[in-house]
Symmetry: C2
Subunit: 494 residues, 2 copies
């Protein structure tokens, strides 16, 4: 087994270190010289590009267009929406000057005190304010609505404790910002987009998610309602993977964006915003990986099949690699991405371990005996099952396997997630499950912020969501004993 792989901490020993080892050793990302900012390495970025391309297509199919808004936001903009400023304008990167000059006392450069900005600029932590300030100029009448824009961008939130992909000072994301004539239309849009995220998570990331409303205390700062998709990681902690906000008329009022309706009356515009980020990379890694490394769903794997020649000597190598090239061409013709690793300065054992670490869905190894027998060795990364199969029919087999692996990873995650939703009806049970099992706790809640906050302070568990499909059920709040009409899901989370 390769040295790199040996160094991966086992998940059961230290889950958090295991995660970090995978991210770094599989070549996905690393910390940079700037505190809290990561470098996304080529292999990690290739996965993100696949996510981007898929989501972008889904956004366009639902009628959205991309645009780009400024990186900087004038400080005063944040104060215009009362709850937004509390949530976003605090821990952020502040630009105060626009020039450096040579240090008069020696080497290097210093900030030029004469180049102080009249008003400080904030590096966007999210773009509602600058976008609604822009929309004001775009909207006069109902004919200008809806506006359905999305932006792919970097944002900065000055986090104190950071973790690659999951929580970084700078991260990449998309943020949709839409403007509508009616409340109904805006709510419909926010709902449509959370289902787009759900579909992406389940069908592309093989990640089962629970869709629901956030409780008031967990809402986006400035939203009337926040919808969320919540996933479960293998350590039993939840991970919020995407959110879609119905913003009411809050930002339209803050930036005075009104439109003339069909009756010729002025009304404030209704808004939504919705986003997913490079955090999804963290979810993907944490949900499926094992102690051998990443397990990538084929639909998001930059390399879906790796081929490794097993040989002795130059001549054998050439025959075997030529055969692999033929097979690769056939697979590529079916849309499969294939890499042939014919490096001769690296042992096969190292290659095997390295591609397991990187989560390549299928590995094919061809040796001299296979050549004689018309066979090839096939390993699937999700189960680590190895079998020798005929070369004949290989392409069809691999194409079918892609779908099979995609489904299998999903099924495994779904079974685990479902086994980790526990109904509890007493506070003792609640504490017991939280400490000894983890996962989602389905419990009654009295609907008040006080109870929500008290539970969080006592246990670090929060309401992850009120699921869309939670049935009405009379009960008593697990904490306060007050009446409740439906169960909600609690969990500790990333």
């Amino acid at each position: 087994m390769a040295k790199e792989l040996k160094d991966v901490t086992k998940a059961e020993d230290n889950y958090s270190q295991w995660y970090n080892d995978l991210v770094v050793k599989a070549g996905l990302a690393e910390n940079s010289a700037v505190r809290g900012c990561m470098v996304i390495k080529p292999y990690g970025y290739a996965i993100w590009e696949k996510m981007q391309a898929t989501l972008d297509k889904m956004f366009k199919e639902t009628g959205h267009e991309n645009a780009y808004f400024p990186l900087f936001i004038p400080k005063s903009f944040f104060s215009k929406e009362a709850s937004h400023v509390e949530g976003f304008a605090k821990e952020c990167a502040v630009v105060t000057h626009y020039r450096l000059k040579n240090d008069p006392d020696g080497k290097g450069v210093v900030v030029d005190p004469d180049a102080k900005l009249e008003e400080e600029l904030i590096v966007r932590p999210t773009s509602e304010t600058i976008i609604w300030n822009t929309y004001k100029g775009w909207i006069q009448s109902y004919r200008d609505l809806p506006i359905l824009c999305n932006q792919w961008a970097n944002v900065v939130r000055w986090e104190m404790r950071t973790r690659l992909f999951l929580r970084t000072a700078e991260f990449l994301w998309q943020e949709g910002h839409t403007a509508h004539a009616t409340q109904e239309e805006a709510i419909e849009e926010a709902t449509r987009m959370i289902h787009v995220y759900e579909k992406f998570a389940e069908e592309w990331m093989s990640l089962p998610v629970i869709v629901g409303h956030k409780s008031p205390n967990e809402r986006f700062a400035g939203a009337v309602d926040t919808l969320t998709i919540e996933a479960l990681m293998q350590d039993g902690k939840a991970l919020q993977s995407g959110t879609s906000h119905f913003l009411g008329q809050n930002f339209a009022k803050a930036f005075d964006v009104q439109y003339l309706n069909k009756e010729g009356k002025l009304e404030y515009v209704w808004a939504t915003s919705w986003g997913v980020s490079t955090r999804l990379m963290g979810a993907l890694i944490m949900a499926h990986s094992d102690n051998n490394g990443l397990v990538l769903p084929p639909k998001l794997a930059p390399i879906q099949v790796v081929m490794i020649p097993i040989y002795r000597g130059e001549e054998q190598m050439q025959t075997i690699v030529a055969k692999l090239r033929e097979m690769a061409d056939e697979l590529r013709a079916r849309g499969i991405s294939v890499k042939i690793d014919d490096r001769d300065n690296v042992r096969s054992g190292f290659k095997f371990a390295d591609y397991e670490l990187k989560g390549i869905p299928v590995r094919l190894a061809l040796g001299p005996r296979d050549l004689e027998n018309g066979t090839i060795e096939l390993m699937r990364r999700d189960t680590l099952a190895k079998e020798v199969v005929p070369q004949e029919g290989l392409t069809d087999r691999v194409v079918a396997l892609m779908e099979d692996i995609q489904q299998n990873i999903y099924r495994k995650a779904l079974e685990f997630r479902n086994s980790m939703i526990t109904k509890v009806d007493t506070w003792e049970e609640f504490l017991d499950v939280l400490e000894n099992k983890g996962g989602f706790i389905s419990a009654h809640w009295d609907g008040t912020v006080e109870t929500e906050v008290a539970i969080k302070e006592a246990t670090k568990a929060t309401i992850r969501c009120i699921p869309f499909d939670a049935p009405e059920e009379e009960g008593r709040c697990v904490f306060s004993g007050k009446p409740s009409h439906r169960r909600v899901l609690f969990a500790r989370s990333y």
Copy 2:
């Protein structure tokens, strides 16, 4: 003619205002509330996306991978490469604090003086420093080379005078950063990439460019050699459209990046960087547009064909739109992007003018008489020529027209550009051509920075490039009279 269009300033009256009017009125971009930062609107962003997709494919075909590096660069990094700091670390956005707090004296938020950064962070104006600091960790031996990374990102240079797309404080770009074992390989890479840009400009943007070396005074800060593609705008000014730099070992030495060569000896790594930006949008607009609006080359037009029904009454409308839908489906099956504008609250005349303004390559208008005759009216945007053509064979005709328009736009720009390269051999001629004709001036230059600077100060003309294909020719410098071995191209530029 539509009101919007009437408001477009004529190019001959005020070229600069004409340009700005086109950008704003065609819906490409607008200024934002943040000085010097633009909003790229959906139609403008759709063109940029096509540029991105094409370039990204060309980069990947030449072996490059995408990655992402931090937005922020520690101030001290800039001081490490002596000439780089002079060029880039001066007019830039400086982050000094990481927190705001509620204003104790009233409403709003103020910078928290307790949250001052130990070392200021610079919003990247270009990423050589942070990337070479990262590469240090990636490179040990010759086996780790080459590294061929590209990044799509936003950058900030605090420009005093800004102009949409051409010069903005924040802009979008790609920056390739490669690391090589040998000087030859790095020079080959820098050369390969300037030719990729040349191909993109000529084949996709229909923009003829001259490829060559920059003179020392116009080099990138930190480069040993800068290669450039130079285009000519319709007002006779040049526009640098892309650059590729051979950086020698300058950044490797500044960040101490060495590798063990095959002989086991430590050597500094060789570097290149290369980039194009949203400035290309400015080049595209300025090079081809006319007083009616944009003229987009079909390969970059988000909408290639617009169809407009001409009708009286609901029933006629339905028949005509149904026919257009059939035609649109046929065109789409051939990969043409088509928009049918069947809005009934907007006059056809307004639509015609609006799509001319937006530069849609082909307009098809179908009226009741066409329906009877089996014909359709076709207008091509590049020549504004209108003809009534049979519906039969329309798809083939339009497909062929796409290529024809693409070529024709290029040919027109090339003829203009070639007519605007003037050989001069005296300083009087130089001044005369510069003032009364513009364009590129092909003249002898003695090769010194002093002469280059003196000419720039006297005339605002700079050496745009020393063309790759400039033949050896003995002559005398047009300014100093000293001997020269080849002509270079001077021009005033954007």
